[in-house]
């Protein structure tokens, strides 16, 4: 029996974004779930690594979930960065309108 985790993301600007782990191989070592660089730089060591998954339905589910979590983390981080860029752009237009007297139509 194979248990396959899936996820779906909905937002006002996105109708539906589906996440599914690919065929693999999958592991419990996620790209986005590593220890923070700050801890390693301060001389810390990572003694909290996840254990390897067992080759059982639940063990494989755990590995596939890690892949899914990576996909979700990357997707949400990209969205956050996009939102930040948009806010910066808006702030820049506002600054130019107020400080430099640039006409809104010109700035577009």
């Amino acid at each position: 029996m194979r248990l396959v985790p899936t996820a779906e993301y909905n937002a006002p600007d996105i109708e539906s974004h589906k996440f599914e782990p690919s065929d693999g191989p999958h592991t419990t070592y996620g790209k986005t779930t590593q220890i923070s660089d700050i801890v390693i730089k301060a001389g810390g060591e990572d003694r909290d690594k996840p254990t390897d998954h067992n080759d059982t339905p639940l063990g494989n589910l755990r590995a596939e979930l890690t892949t899914l979590q990576d996909q979700i983390n990357i997707f949400l981080t990209d969205r956050m960065n996009l939102e930040k860029d948009n806010k910066n752009q808006e702030a820049d237009i506002e600054r130019r309108l107020l400080d430099e007297g640039v006409d809104e139509d010109e700035s577009e």
Binding site: I35, S36, I38, V39, A42, G44, P50, T51
Partner: protein, 373 residues
Amino acid sequence: MVVDLDKYLKQDKDYYIAIGLEGSANKLGVGIIKHSKGLLSNVNKAKVLSNVRDTYITPPGEGFLPRDTARHHRNWVVRIIKKAIKDANINKFDIDVICFTQGPGMGAPLQSVVIAARTISQIWQIPLVGVNHCIGHIEMGREITGALNPVVLYVSGGNTQVIAYSKNRYRIFGETLDIAIGNCLDRFARTLKISNDPAPGYNIEQLAKKGKHLVNLPYTVKGMDMSMSGILAYIDQLAKDMFGIQKKQLKDEESGEFITKEDLCFSLQEILFSMLVEITERALAHVNSNQVLIVGGVGSNERLQEMMKLMIQDRKNGQIFATDERFCIDNGIMIAHAGLLQYRTGGIIKDLKDTVCTQRFRTDEVYIAWRDD
């Protein structure tokens, strides 16, 4: 009226077993407790079957970040649960209830642990109970020490409260207005780059034992409350002046001797603990009590216990109660114990939606159905 604690006892059973999962800060704890049926008393004490803990420790000078602490809990929780069950030597299906810390605490670590609790609850078909972390400390402290109705001093990395019981609530008489006492000590340890192993507060305590000179620090008790951020800023600046680029040397006014790192740790402890003793003494007078119970991680500090003892000895029949580090420092067994009391009075969670954790969860929000005094 005596509270009926056996309304929910399963047929053919004369005891209860609960597993408790704690992870509101950098300690991940899992404990298993057994209550025999009937009221808890000196002849019917709760039995600790196992109490396993693993602490997320960061390098000197660094605090624990929520993300890495949550990762620690996530990656250890299964191993710790397995060890707790093995140590307790029970069958998991003998567990009546799964208890987890619902708050207060750091959001991300709380979240890691509640996910584990929900998962085992669904796999094993065992109900869940969400426990207030502070209530866990209080109830475990009462059970271990036998203190009946004490004024509770709850001092830890995230909380500083003076609490007394009245009409089914643990009511807060005084508390910090800004940072918690453990946070104050931990952050000063970071400034001095003191090791976080086994705990920064413990290492400050050891240094303080070698301190001789009291450095004048602000003393900020405000009514029944206290403030510690100003004291921290003040002593942090002193430490930076002394051990930073300036290498400024301070002298003790009386002896003319140089002030050391040990003196700073000693002074910080003396001032902070004096403030705690003052508000605790006032709370005792308010509620006309003569018992003090110290709980929370900072409660294992021997100097705090000693200062509190000096105060309580001056009161008629005064008694002080404290537990050792197994029960003082965050642990799973206290969550199992308080959760089991909640379970025995019908406090189980009926819908998974109600298992959501919260960073802010005040001690007096919980209705204490298992006490009727």
